[in-house]
Amino acid sequence: MASQVDALYIYLLLVAGVMTAVIFLGIMVLAIKYRRARHPNAEQIEGSTALEIIWSIIPLFVMMTFFIWGAVIYFQERTPPADSTEVYVVAKQWMWKIEHMEGQREINELHVPTGQNIKLIMTSQDVIHSFFVPAFRIKQDVLPGRYTTFWFKATKPGHYHLFCAEYCGTQHSGMGGDIVVMEPQDYAQWMAGGTSAPLQDTGKQLFSALGCATCHRFDVQGRGPNLTGIYNKPVLLEDGRTVIADENYVRESILNPTAKIVNGFKPVMPAFQGIVSEEQLNALVAYVKSLSQPPTGTAGLQSQPATSPAEPQKMQVQ
């Protein structure tokens, strides 16, 4: 991606260089040629509509090449390939917390293997930050209250700057770190050094501990929708709209379930806003996304009291 951005940049520099040269030289030549000492009497010339049209249309045409090329690159930058490895990022004043799917956690460092597409799923605990890796020519703001995503593929092992690019307070300029790009075998070794449980396993435990499994059952129809295989599928809402169950939808449905009620269910699920941390939320989202098949473990089958009094629940999805 970096080389594509650079190629476009060189094209822009060339066009801009030519334009600047034309205007600067034009002014210099005209200013010298028609200086008063040499040309004491100006000759009045009205405008020329033909010229006006020419110097409107040609720049417009050139600008459209900028637009199209830039939009194509942007489209690629914002469209993660299906085989991307997902990494969760939580930003806060003033650090980057990274969670790998395998359970490895890092602060202000992100280890990635070469040749692998990496999709970052990012959110902020407080203010707006921005994840900026100049070497990869990419940047994405990280917002509180929602996920933003982007992807990259590193090609060359090494350490690369990670900066926060959106002003976020006192230590904004200290909120940096390293992207550590490793050969796949080194990366595997590094990854094996960790001891944490995979992210979706943490999510599975939370799913059970928070009582989600009471209503979101996988065996029989509970009071909440069965979550098997819902990720990235369309969901029909009560008000007739259809939305895609992406990360932001799952997130919102946990934090503020009544915002979008799935058709056929009642708004009975309590809001988890302020109850689960961003890290727990990431684990839950990772777990829900992993449910392409009904879980074989115990989570959905646990026979908790179906009418646990304080928490009648309800969620989305058919």
Partner: protein, 548 residues
């Protein structure tokens, strides 16, 4: 009050400057020319204050470590620099100083349509300015001039509401100025001065006024919303309260992008006047230059989200705003081409105002072309929020606006004060400004592309060389800006006496005395000629020094 029967080629006994010397005659004046001078003094104070903060920034960035001041102090310093320069200098400078002075003179009117509202504008501006100074002296603000939420509403304990109030008042000052200009230009033109005979400076101020009255209320509302969320914790922008932080950015940029055109359009108007006068020619493609101002004002309202390509707006929204952003590029390019074409077969003099006009075209060309790069989304993703953007908007807003302002100030100084400035010093300062400016800001383009984010108090050592260059340039630039301050003041007493039309320029403002009488014209002028009729006005080198 009006001066009576004074021949145009003699220094008048009674003019707007010596017609009353009491403090009251200045502070309660409704004369647009005196109000322009009140603005001139106040924006100059704010300019040097903002410039002082700029020097602090450049000194801190001389070294990679944060060593000159604390991080919090630095954050306040760049915030104060931005807010002062944007809201208390760049937005009012050309319309409120040159516009105020010249709009009635150029259209042959006695004053603006609402002289008392004009005075009220200045008082709103000064009140806002005083509140801002109080805010600054009692702690200041550390959000950056952009006030991004939820940082500004929930995560800073600095004086957001007070700074907001100051900007709110300054905003109304600019709304009233815009309103006054629009009514004046519609209703008070001299007989025969039809729309297609108006000086391009008037067209530019007209377009600017449209943006002022349509855009400024939005920033006023936005400031109120920030204050409401901050004071009463109503969920408008903070997601924890059910708000949307991006809503703030949409509202903010809906004003603050067009605000760039409030700054640059009047300067473009100045440049058209200067080039016509010093090339002794009608501006090439007059109608296209006039309408391009209006086109920029209109398109300027449709491009705000290009500040938000990485902020979390949707893929397709970003593409639409990228596309629309290029639409502003066309009328801007049209202006530059027409100015260049005006030189063709002219009779060009290199007086100081013309040097500034050349400088303007140079800096605006670079600022505009890098703007096209930023509108190209694939590039913007990499360079937004880096020094590339800082360099770009300084080229447009400072390079462009200040070149136009200084060029205009030199050009109309004899009209405003009745005195000439010292030409040699002025040429030197124009050169220093141009060289210093490029040395300060050009390295920042490179700095941005190699990845230095903006608003950084400390930075990795590999960025140091370019930062040192930039700071060196800033020192030259500072001298370039201080010099005119000194010789303009000097000229008030020692400058050569200016006659009514020292440049042999076209335009009604040159047909009255220098300085003009309180009511501008002894007799209402009747216009029977097109704008820039330089074929009918011989330049000074070929005629007796008498105004035409």
């Amino acid at each position: 009050m009006a001066s009576i029967g004074i021949p145009a080629n003699q220094a008048p006994k009674l003019n707007y400057l010596n017609n009353g010397h009491s403090l009251k005659s200045w502070l309660l004046t409704t004369d647009h020319k005196r109000i322009a001078l009140l603005y001139l003094i106040s924006v100059t104070v704010f300019f040097f204050l903002g410039g002082f903060f700029a020097m602090l920034i450049r000194l801190e960035l001389l070294t990679p470590q944060g060593d000159l001041m604390q991080a919090d102090t630095y954050n306040k310093v760049f915030t104060m620099h931005g807010m002062i320069m944007v809201f208390f200098f760049l937005i009012p400078v050309v319309p409120a100083v040159l516009g105020n002075f010249l709009v009635p003179l150029m259209i042959g009117a006695k004053d603006l349509a609402f002289p008392r509202i004009n005075l009220l504008s200045w008082y709103l501006y000064i009140t806002g300015g005083m509140i801002f100074l109080h805010c600054m002296l009692t702690g200041g603000v550390d959000t950056g001039w952009t006030f991004y939420t939820p940082f500004s509403t929930d995560y800073t304990n600095t004086k957001i509401v007070e700074a907001g109030l100051a900007i709110f008042l300054a905003g109304f000052s600019s709304i009233f100025t815009g309103l006054n200009f629009i009514v004046t230009i519609h209703r008070m033109r001299a007989p025969g001065l039809t729309w297609d005979r108006l000086p391009l400076f008037i067209w530019a101020n007209y377009a600017t006024s449209l943006v002022m009255i349509l855009g400024t209320p939005v920033i006023a509302i936005t400031i109120v919303l920030v204050a409401v969320e901050r004071l009463f914790h109503l969920g408008i922008f903070d997601p924890r309260l059910g708000g949307d932080p991006l809503l703030f950015q949409h509202l903010f940029w809906f004003y603050s992008h067009p605000a760039v055109y409030i700054m640059i359009l009047p300067s473009m108007g100045v440049i058209s006047e200067l080039i016509a006068c010093f090339a002794r020619k009608r501006v090439f493609g007059y109608k296209f230059v006039a309408l391009s101002s209006v086109a920029i004002a209109v398109f300027g309202f449709l491009v705000w989200a290009h500040h938000m390509f990485v902020a979390g707006i949707s893929l397709y929204a970003a593409m639409i705003f990228s596309f629309l952003s290029f639409s502003v590029g066309v009328p801007s390019a049209v202006k530059v081409f027409n100015w260049t074409a005006t030189l063709y077969k002219g009779s060009i003099s290199y007086a100081t105002p013309m040097l500034y006009a050349f400088g303007f075209i140079g800096l605006f060309t670079i600022g505009g072309l890098t703007g096209l790069m930023l509108a190209t989304i694939g590039i913007d993703v990499h360079v937004t929020d880096t020094y590339f953007v800082v360099a770009h908007f300084h080229y447009v807003m400072v390079g462009g606006v200040l070149m136009g302002y200084l060029g205009g100030l030199h050009f109309w100084w004899p009209k405003m004060t009745g005195r000439m400035y010292p030409e040699a010093w002025a040429k030197l300062s124009a050169l220093l400004v141009f060289v210093g400016f490029n040395l300060t800001f050009f390295p920042q383009f490179i700095l941005g592309y190699v990845g230095m984010p903006r608003r950084y108090w400390q930075y990795p050592p590999e960025f140091q060389a370019l930062n040192v260059l930039s700071t060196a340039g800033a020192s030259i630039l500072a001298v370039g800006y201080l010099l005119p301050m000194i010789y303009f003041v000097w000229s008030l007493r020692y400058g050569a006496i200016a006659d009514a039309n020292p440049w042999a320029a076209a335009g009604l403002e040159w047909k009255t005395t220098s300085p003009p009488p309180t009511f501008n014209f002894d007799e209402t002028p009747v216009v029977t000629w097109e704008a820039y009729n330089y074929d009918e006005i011989p330049h000074k080198e070929r005629r007796a020094p008498v105004a035409g």
